[in-house]
Amino acid sequence: MRVWPLLRLLLLAVALAGCMPAQLRPMLALNRRLEQAGSAREPALSGRWLAVIGGRGGREQVQLLDVERGQPVPLPGLNRPDAQPLSVGVDARGERLAVVRQLNGQTELVLYRRSLGLLQPLAIQPAGVPRRVQLRADGRQLAVEVSRNGLWQIDLITMP
């Protein structure tokens, strides 16, 4: 006979657990490293890679971190002191990064291939001003916001 109150309590606990917000576990070591590196914004996670725009003293650059090792990886040929990155996307292999940046008064979309250290401008056609970019996890396509004729639009660019 004492089973019923216990069963009711158990059912109540299960029901309440269903209503409770889920608990997130911060990745403490990685987060500490990010904090020590200065400010960071515009995160893009894919596979084991986290791309952010960050830095100290107002000098921002694109940074790529290996989330599993908690370490930044070099991006030779991508960052330059006279460019201001605005948005970044990364594929799941950490091979391709799509970046919107301002350089010489122009806003441009570029694609960086890490293994080759090569940077390729991607033309916006018809002409427009890109803002935020997201790269598909397989790296084959990107979606970019473009200001064109007073309207924000989304362009989908498929890459070979």
């Binding site: 917000p21 889920a22 608990q23 997130l24 576990r25 911060p26 990745m27 990685l30 987060n31 990010l34 904090e35 200065g38 400010s39 960071a40 914004r41 515009e42 995160p43 893009a44 996670l45 894919s46 596979g47 986290l50 952010v52 960050g54 989330v67 799941a92 694609l111 291939r113 080759l116 090569l118 390729q120 991607l122 033309a123 916006i124 056609q125 803002r131 935020r132 997201q134 598909r136 996890a137 397989d138 084959r140 396509q141 990107l142 979606a143 970019v144 916001e145 309207l151 924000w152 639009q153 989304i154 362009d155 989908l156 660019i157 498929t158 890459m159 070979p160």
Partner: protein
């Protein structure tokens, strides 16, 4: 010497072309779905490219829409209706999970919709603070959130293992799968 330089450059160009690096990218507008004259921004593609999430301006607020990329057909998002403005959508590999920011009163909250079972997860940030942007890992294992802390933008990465089942690319198994091929 000039001949050597020309030959080396030609070889490099041919190699790059062979890699597809200099191949031309093709561009097309996102499927309109009756949204030709609306501002659209903050797009997110699922890892397999089948789905596209984006934000539109609608009746004075910013609302999330989800479309099939091929047909442009809009998919229902019943959980998100009354929590505008929405921002920062992010999709998993097969589009099972749709993460984003919603407004609840004065607070901006992180939510993840599990489209397979229709469940909406509210994810309070362990360190508090207002989330500004987020990115969900395509397999659903992690979430990166941009928050304002001590007067500067910070990115925090959160482990979702145990909260979300993996949403992996097609033909990927987590366990089992029989005897590996020789």
């Amino acid at each position: 010497m000039p001949h050597l330089c020309v030959a080396a450059l030609t070889g490099l160009l041919l190699a790059l072309t062979g890699c597809g690096w200099l191949g031309s990218a093709s561009r097309r507008p996102a499927p309109l779905g009756g949204l030709a004259n609306s501002n659209r921004n903050d797009a997110a593609l699922s890892g397999d490219g089948r789905l596209l999430a984006s934000l539109i301006e609608d009746n004075g607020t910013t609302r999330l829409i989800l479309q099939e990329q091929g047909s442009g057909r809009r998919l229902a998002l019943r959980h998100w209706r009354r929590q505008t403005p929405h921002s920062s959508p992010s999709l998993s590999w097969n589009g099972r999970y749709l993460a984003g920011l919603v407004q609840q009163g004065e607070q901006r909250r992180v939510v993840v919709e599990d489209r397979l079972n229709g469940r909406l997860l509210r994810l309070p940030l362990p360190g508090g603070g207002q989330p500004e942007r987020l990115s969900l890992a395509p397999d659903g294992s992690r979430l990166a959130v941009q928050v304002l802390r001590k007067g500067q933008w910070q990115v925090e990465v959160l482990d979702l293992n145990g909260l979300l089942e993996p949403d992996l690319p097609g033909a990927t198994t987590v366990l089992g799968g029989g005897v590996p091929p020789p």
